[in-house]
Amino acid sequence: MHKILIVEDDEKLRDELEKFLNNNGYKAESIKKFDNTIHDILKINPDLILLDINLPGADGEFICKEIRKQSNMAIIMVTSRDNELDELISLNYGADHYITKPFNIQILLAKINSLLRRANMSIENSNRIDAKDFTLDMSKNTMEKNNKSIELTKNEFRILKYFVENREKIVSREDIIECLWDSESFIDDNTLTVNITRLRNKLEELGLKELLQTKRGQGYILLKKG
């Protein structure tokens, strides 16, 4: 499990973020005293840190620069300073991403995922998502079962991935559209209907037709077979 360290001085935000990340499959920790922040971060040695800029003691940009000298951990700056200059400074000091408060948590999560995936490319083969009844291959945009592989369009793949991430939960059409919009595919209601129909047909080809069910007035649900 990946370790994420939250370096943030607002107590409530820190606790809620920690809770959220722990619920989403990460091991989140946070720093509560800021007298020796750089030392503490290096000692904990997480895979990724979420770093605020306005901190008591050393500021985030300085911490970022110092950590980069000694470590390769992923750094995401999370700050309320919303201007181009601060963003450039942070990126120049070696931060991987710059996110402004209040942030869209799904986008933050997506950035964390992609950073950690890239960092661990060689160790794990995390291009594949095991969805029990079938497997998703993120590098080829395909869905596989028993050596049979079906190619999906980008949007179909994203929708299916979203279903897998929210397995056995009802997802509304708005949720799906929002998820697609987050990855810059600004589809409308009709296009979604078309995509869902095509996805159903493709699932049928693998003999998994009954997996994706419509909940009238609420949305869809992806079930587990066995």
Binding site: D10, K12, L13, E16, L17, K19, F20, N23, N54, S80, R81, D82, N83, E84, L85, L88, T100, K101, P102, F103, N104, I105, I107, E174, I177, E178, W181, D182, E184, F186, D188, D189
Partner: protein
């Protein structure tokens, strides 16, 4: 300063001289002087007097003509005292030194307010950084406790965020200093960012999004442009038609000296007579008075102001009941045209 006007002012003096000469003439007539003397004395006095007047006229004319010329050519008229020469006559000297003193005290006065405004802007910026933290915390709480009620609070928080951002840019738009940072950015990234930012209202209102021809580089501050686009997009949603075909089309064209970004909607449009006033502060128009629109007349006004600062032209055209089109014209080398 015309010669005629100058003479008019000197009229009393001239009459007095002529009167004096007349008395001298009467006095001379009582004595048996020759005609030569009778003509020579008054003529000499008159000629000398007029030479004196001419000298005075030329030096005054030079000074005042120079003053009004310089004034006409100056953008910042209060700097005129720094440019004109000190005149050689007493009224001119008094005028110049008075102007200098007035300028100085005015500048001090203006600086005081400039400082106050700067100070207030700094406070607003600080306040905005501060307020974003509890908002971010509230959003995290909502994320960890998702239900219908928190979702609704989340939507309201988004509105709060928009208002806060408007306040920030309003404060920025009023200062002389440069708050922006110009760099090359891809229009596509800017547009994607602003659509994503407004996704909840766009999806809720079933707006169709049509983006094309956006892969172009512009030199600007993308954060400012995203704010401007937010205002425009939010207007498109606010003033959409109540049917299911509402949408926004965004595309760009490469001009010879510029890149033009088009943001087009198929909403209710703006009345013909009100288009020119759309950028005015506080102007809400017929549309703004429609029910539930909550128009403040700030959005487009602020867009225009920020565009002016960035050196971008913003244009609007609209046909009532058909839609509105906004165009942002980015000069090719906008860093040259910065104010």
């Amino acid at each position: 300063m015309k010669f005629k006007d100058f003479i008019k002012e000197k009229l009393i003096g001239i009459f007095l001289v002529i009167f004096a000469l007349a008395t001298i003439e009467i006095f001379l007539m009582a004595y048996p002087y020759g005609n030569f003397i009778k003509i020579y004395i008054p003529l000499t006095i008159l000629v000398v007097y007029f030479i004196g007047l001419m000298i005075e006229y030329t030096s005054k004319k030079n000074f005042y003509a120079n003053l009004s010329n310089t004034l006409n050519n100056l953008d910042e008229k209060y700097l005129v005292t720094e440019i004109i020469n000190t005149p050689n006559f007493i009224e001119g000297k008094i005028l110049k030194s008075s102007l200098e003193q007035i300028d100085k005290s005015m500048l001090e006065h203006v600086n005081k307010y400039k400082y106050l405004q700067e100070d207030y802007k700094e406070y607003i910026e600080l306040w905005i950084h501060e307020i974003k933290i509890p908002i971010a915390a509230s959003k995290m709480v909502i994320e960890n406790n998702k239900n219908e009620a928190t979702k609704s609070i989340d939507e309201e928080l988004n509105k709060v965020e928009d208002y806060i951002e408007q306040a920030l840019f309003y404060a920025r738009s009023n200062t002389v200093e440069k708050d922006y940072y110009i760099k090359a950015s891809n229009l596509k990234d800017i547009i994607n960012e602003s659509i994503k930012k407004n996704k909840s209202i766009l999806i809720q209102n079933k707006m169709l999004i049509n983006l094309h021809d956006l892969d172009r580089i512009v030199h600007t501050d993308s954060k400012w442009i995203i704010f401007i686009l937010n205002q425009i997009i939010q207007n498109s949603v606010k003033y959409r038609k109540q049917d299911n075909n509402s949408g926004i089309e965004i595309y760009s064209k490469q001009g010879k000296e510029n890149v033009i970004l088009y943001i087009k909607d198929n909403g209710i449009g703006i009345k013909k007579g009100e288009i020119t006033r759309a950028f005015e502060k506080g102007f809400t128009g017929t549309n703004g008075r429609l029910q539930n629109k909550k128009s403040t007349g700030i959005g487009l006004y602020l867009c225009k102001k920020l565009c002016d600062k960035l050196g971008i032209a913003i244009e609007l055209s609209s046909i009532q009941n058909e839609g509105t089109e906004l165009r942002l014209v980015f000069p090719k080398n906008s860093y040259i045209n910065l104010k």
